[in-house]
């Protein structure tokens, strides 16, 4: 019996490959374990402390670009979250802007207008062939040469453009504003129902309804109505130049803008190529058939071409989102306080816990990237062919 088992392990192809795979995984695990052990031993031998206790000591430095309150007395752990939120902020804003720009440029590259088409061509070839780091530094340098704070340009009332950022009035929500907000949300929910009902009617009767206009009016007008009913519960705090800087209002820092421009302009070039390839991939016959049915050009695009193009576009688009998110770690070059710059840079230096901090930062990026992939894969499934086709 025993010898049969051994013989099976060696001569049976399935069992043998299972044995080899188990062995390789085991050895790999051992390898990782030994490296970790050796590292810990070396650190100890050189008198370098290790461990995650540092997360609870106060950070001792300030971060200007932040979404949650942070002072120098807060812990390194909180500095981590400040950095994480800044990374997510630039990633979300960057992906959003890059997608819009990418789609526009992609469509323009297929336009019949010679000038537009070639401007888009030059844009794509220039931006995607120059390293993104250089572009970020370029945009940041341009932003730094905007007027100094004392010579701020007032674009509109209360909006100031300077080399320290774009200062805008900030909203102050007074009592009753939550009701306005609720009305807005309710309007959106109602508009979804209206859309469903009218679509059904259209399918039954063939009559088209101006769904877009009805819903836009609903979503825009309802909150405005409630805004006046509640006695205008919104005020603005305008930035005023006082001493060295503007006081009050909100500010978008040049570091953020530099990153946003650099990342989105660079990634948009790749996205536009993806979009272009997606549209070209839809066979000409589809377009001609829908035109033969008498569909208008914008409807051909919206109902026939784009839905089919999306099937080609989504998978490479996902990797562009991942690239943009990972490239956001270049914020360190211009002092944008993202995860790598703040926690992975300053905290690392103050505490000297390089291995622990880098592990945390890497795992965080891994988690963010996998989450993006997950959602994009779900979305990808939803646009793929359904049924037996």
């Amino acid at each position: 019996m025993e010898s049969y088992f051994v013989r099976k392990l060696i001569f049976d192809e399935k069992s043998r490959s299972l044995l080899i795979q188990t062995l390789v995984i085991g050895l790999f695990a051992l390898f990782i374990y030994l490296i970790a052990q050796q590292t810990a031993y070396n650190l100890e031998k050189r008198g370098i402390s290790s461990g995650f206790d540092f997360l609870n000591i106060s950070a001792g430095y300030d971060i200007s670009i932040r979404l949650i309150p942070f002072t120098s007395e807060d812990t390194h752990l909180r500095a981590y979250f400040v950095g994480l939120l800044n990374t997510l902020m630039i990633a979300v804003c960057g992906c959003f802007l890059a997608t819009i720009m990418g789609f526009l440029v992609g469509v323009i590259r297929l336009s019949s207008n010679w000038l537009f088409r070639n401007i888009a061509y030059v844009y794509v070839e220039f931006t995607r062939n120059v390293p993104v780091l250089l572009q970020i530094i370029l945009y940041y340098s341009i932003l730094l040469h905007l007027p100094k704070i004392k010579q701020a340009i007032e674009i509109f009332d209360g909006f100031f453009l300077t080399n320290r950022g774009f200062f805008t009035p900030s909203p102050i929500f007074k009592e009753g504003f939550s009701i306005v907000l609720c009305s807005f949300i309710v309007a959106i929910i109602v508009s979804i129902f209206i859309k469903r009902i009218l679509k059904k009617k259209q399918e039954q009767t063939g009559k088209q309804y101006p769904i877009f206009y009805i819903n836009s009016a609903l979503i825009i007008l309802t909150p405005i109505l409630f805004y006046y009913i509640m006695g205008r519960p919104l005020e603005f705090d305008t930035p005023v130049l006082k001493g060295f800087n503007f006081k009050g209002g909100m500010v978008i820092r040049p570091e953020f803008l530099g990153m946003l421009f650099g990342l989105s302009i660079y990634t948009a070039a790749f996205i536009s190529e993806t979009v272009r390839s997606g549209i070209i991939a839809v066979s000409k016959g589809q377009r001609e058939a829908s035109q033969a049915l008498g569909l208008k050009n914008n409807l051909v695009m919206r109902l026939i071409v784009i839905p089919q193009a999306l099937r080609v576009i989504i998978p490479p688009l996902t990797s562009q989102y991942l690239n943009l998110t990972k490239n956001s770690s270049l914020g360190i070059a211009i002092g944008y306080a993202d995860l790598v710059h703040g926690f992975g840079g300053i905290s690392l230096n103050q505490t000297g816990r390089a291995i622990e901090i880098m592990l945390m930062v890497m795992l965080t990026y891994l988690t963010i990237s996998l989450t993006i992939s997950l959602f994009m894969n779900i979305y990808n499934k939803s646009v793929q062919f359904k049924g037996n086709a």
Partner: protein, 341 residues
């Protein structure tokens, strides 16, 4: 079967190699002698302290400490390879053994000395954190900086002092973190920030490089103690001693009036400490594992502390720093080396 075998063997090999790499280092002194040159971590470029000159030769008072150690070990001050380090990577580079010593305007603090596995061996410049502003602002004291934007190099003690100073005085500020000295200069001169803060020595060095140095003023407040000095890895006391006493030899040299110009004449001095220092009275070099003329080599090739100071950062240089705290204890400063005996 052979496949499995070879796979197994190669895996074992990888394991073996990785453990071997991670193995221990010998004594730094032996390593340096074997290599034939000293690997010295320097600044990426801070005029007067550590920066390459027009001919590409590194110079500055921090660089002179590296040169002194090379003179002591090899009898040749030029046997140094400089590894430019940013404030962020400097400790990692030292810990990992890539450099033998770090001489790069680095502040000696408890946590660095104890927690980072380093050993600071002395102070070659007593500094303090200062603030520089443009004269146009009409600011005469750091207490008037409420609401200002402040450019600051990341990963430095400066960053924490800044936070403490503004907090203690109930003032607010916007920090503009930059990576290197030159980036800070660019951001400051572009007006991204009102104030540039770092060690006062660094401010003087930066200012000397601006198109119009007289348009900027370093405010009188010094908000921290920043004893800058060379550091080595913890746990190699023999090597730490060599670096410590190379620096001390320069300071004692000034105290005894020995310069690179008169070092040969001083060999016939009748002051016993001079004779011990210059190796005329033998035996002191051997205690350090060096030749007896090690300090003679330092003083003849690098010069004493005063010579180094005057040459690189003194009042006759564009950087224009007074001796101040960095004068010898007997001249009103706090520079003090233990006796050579």
């Amino acid at each position: 079967m052979t496949k499995i075998k070879s796979l197994f063997i190669s895996l074992l090999l990888i394991l073996g190699v990785s453990t071997a790499i991670a193995g221990s280092h010998g004594s730094t002194h032996d390593l340096v002698k074997e290599r034939g040159k000293l690997m010295c971590g320097s600044n990426t470029g801070l005029a007067g302290f550590g920066a390459p000159n027009d001919a590409g030769v590194w110079e500055g008072i921090d660089v002179d400490v590296c040169r002194a150690v090379a003179a002591a070990v090899f009898g040749d001050a030029s046997k140094v390879e400089y590894v430019p380090t940013t404030s962020k990577v400097r400790f990692t580079v030292l810990q990992s053994g890539e450099i033998d010593m770090l001489s790069r305007n680095t502040t000696w603090t408890l946590s660095r000395d104890v927690d980072l596995g380093l050993e600071f061996v002395g102070v070659n410049y007593y500094d303090g954190q200062g603030f520089m502003v443009s004269k146009d602002l009409g600011v005469s004291s750091a207490m008037e900086l409420d609401g200002a934007s402040v450019c600051i190099q990341v990963g430095t003690t400066t960053e924490m002092n800044l936070a403490d100073f503004f907090k203690a005085n109930g003032m607010s500020y916007e920090s503009v973190p930059v990576e290197t000295n030159s980036e800070a200069d660019a951001a400051y001169t572009a007006g991204r920030c009102d104030v540039y803060t770092t060690d006062a020595s660094g401010l003087y060095a930066s200012r000397a490089g601006y198109p119009d140095p007289s348009a900027h003023v370093v405010l009188p407040e010094i908000v921290s103690k920043e004893p800058l000095g060379p550091a080595v890895r913890h746990g190699d006391s023999e090597w730490a001693d060599i670096v410590r006493w190379s620096l001390n030899a320069m300071i004692i040299g000034e105290e005894l009036g020995i310069t690179s110009g008169n070092v040969d004449e001083m060999k016939s001095s009748n002051n016993p400490e001079v004779l011990r220092l210059l190796g005329v009275d033998a035996g002191y070099g051997a205690m350090l594992g060096l030749s007896d003329d090690w300090a003679y080599n330092i003083l003849s090739q690098v010069g004493n502390y005063s010579e180094s100071f005057e040459k690189h950062i003194g009042p006759n240089t564009p950087i224009n720093i007074q001796r101040g705290l960095n004068a010898l204890y007997k001249d009103g400063g706090i520079l003090y080396a233990p006796p050579f005996r």
